[in-house]
């Protein structure tokens, strides 16, 4: 069964209104804030996007070598063994008004899909594993992010502030592009 590509699409005009002008560096910063909050809530608070506990690990998994080496005596699930899945979350698409978050690596995407769907379609685990939908933020959190970035969005909309900020941000955006091209070079 082909694993669907997971996407979390955020409409920035819904968050900031029609005033949002699509400044790339602001979108990158907002996207990273969303990623950070999902990762932190999952790994540290150990709850899904609705605030429900992710549950506890099975004894058989706790007895495995991989678990003992990386997690020791931890009991409650946080979807983190090596951190590779949560560490792979990234902005995968940007338009003028939206950013989309996903998992660029197909293996990490498959892991995430497994957790979210309860391993639907898996030949052994389908129907046997709890669904753990961690991939998203409640509306309250999105509004909190909007408040946090409102000043920046307002500043970008003013012509003088926008041009000076663009000059400051252009170099950092080039740096992001360069490191990203290294990742894509390896994948390719």
């Amino acid at each position: 069964m082909a694993v669907p590509k997971l996407k979390l699409k955020i409409n920035l005009t819904d968050l900031f209104g029609d005033k949002f002008k699509g400044d790339r560096s602001t979108k990158e910063a907002i996207g990273q804030e969303i990623i950070d909050r999902i990762a932190k809530r999952t790994a540290e608070l150990r709850v899904d996007k609705k605030g429900n506990s992710l549950g506890t690990y099975s004894k058989s998994y706790r007895d495995s070598l991989d678990f003992k080496v990386s997690k020791g005596a931890q009991r409650s699930v946080n979807l983190t063994l090596d951190g590779d899945m949560l560490g792979n979350m990234d902005i995968i698409e940007q338009t003028k008004e939206t950013i989309t978050i996903g998992f660029p690596d197909s293996t990490q995407n498959a892991k995430a899909f497994g957790h979210i769907s309860g391993f639907a379609g898996h030949p052994v685990l389908d129907g046997k594993v709890k669904k753990r939908d961690f991939f998203g933020l409640p509306e309250k959190e999105l509004q909190s992010i909007a408040s946090k970035f409102q000043d920046r969005v307002d500043a970008v909309n003013e012509i003088n502030s926008a041009s000076s900020r663009e000059q400051l941000d252009a170099a950092t955006l080039r740096a992001i592009d360069q490191v990203r091209s290294e990742i894509e070079g390896e994948d390719g």
Partner: protein, 181 residues
């Protein structure tokens, strides 16, 4: 800040990473250094080589038998005598030792000597095995690391996913820097 680059160099017993000028946060360098050290340690203990991206080469049958004898000697009542005879490792077994498990662990000294450091002046991080002495050999831990690596069990390095993680850590830090202006 004109460019950013994450350059990774691996040798037998050393992993060096240079983050080009512009990514100069000491906190980020420390985070990356510890991430690399911890990843190498955990994967090796789990029996995986990050360099080869596969399981570590299996132990020979003869060596497994030797390790089983050591395990039995430890359990026997004459273990003190056995230790004194030099058959049994005086330090005991390392964490996650098992006679037939190939995870570069007998006494645990090698992997406990795995360290990381940050050279902030040159924007570098390094993961290496300390050149420290061992209780059971005239070789140092660094020499043992080089030997096991050249003998078919290279373990100091980063897999593709690990390299990807480091680069995403850098991108995340660059994005967070936008907020502060």
């Amino acid at each position: 800040m004109a460019k950013a680059k994450v350059q990774i160099n691996q040798s037998l017993a050393n992993l060096k990473m240079t983050l080009s000028a512009g990514i100069s946060s000491g906190g980020l360098l420390s985070e990356i250094a510890e991430f690399c050290r911890s990843r190498i340690y955990q994967y090796t203990k789990r029996g995986q080589s990050l360099v080869q991206e596969s399981k570590l080469q299996a132990l020979s049958t003869g060596y497994i038998e030797y390790r089983k004898r050591l395990t039995r000697a430890k359990k026997s009542r004459s273990s003190k005598k056995t230790r004194q005879s030099g058959v049994f490792p005086s330090k005991g077994f390392g964490a996650f030792f098992s006679p037939s498990r190939s995870n570069l662990t007998l006494t645990g000294q090698l992997l406990e000597a795995l360290k990381s450091r940050v050279k902030k002046s040159s924007n570098q991080i390094e993961v290496f095995v300390e050149n420290s002495s061992r209780s059971d050999s005239d070789l140092t831990n660094k020499e043992v690391a080089e030997k096991v690596s050249s003998d078919g069990r290279p373990f100091i390095g980063l897999d593709r996913v690990g390299r990807d993680r480091v680069r995403r850590l850098v991108i995340a830090q660059l994005r967070r820097s936008f907020k502060r202006r």
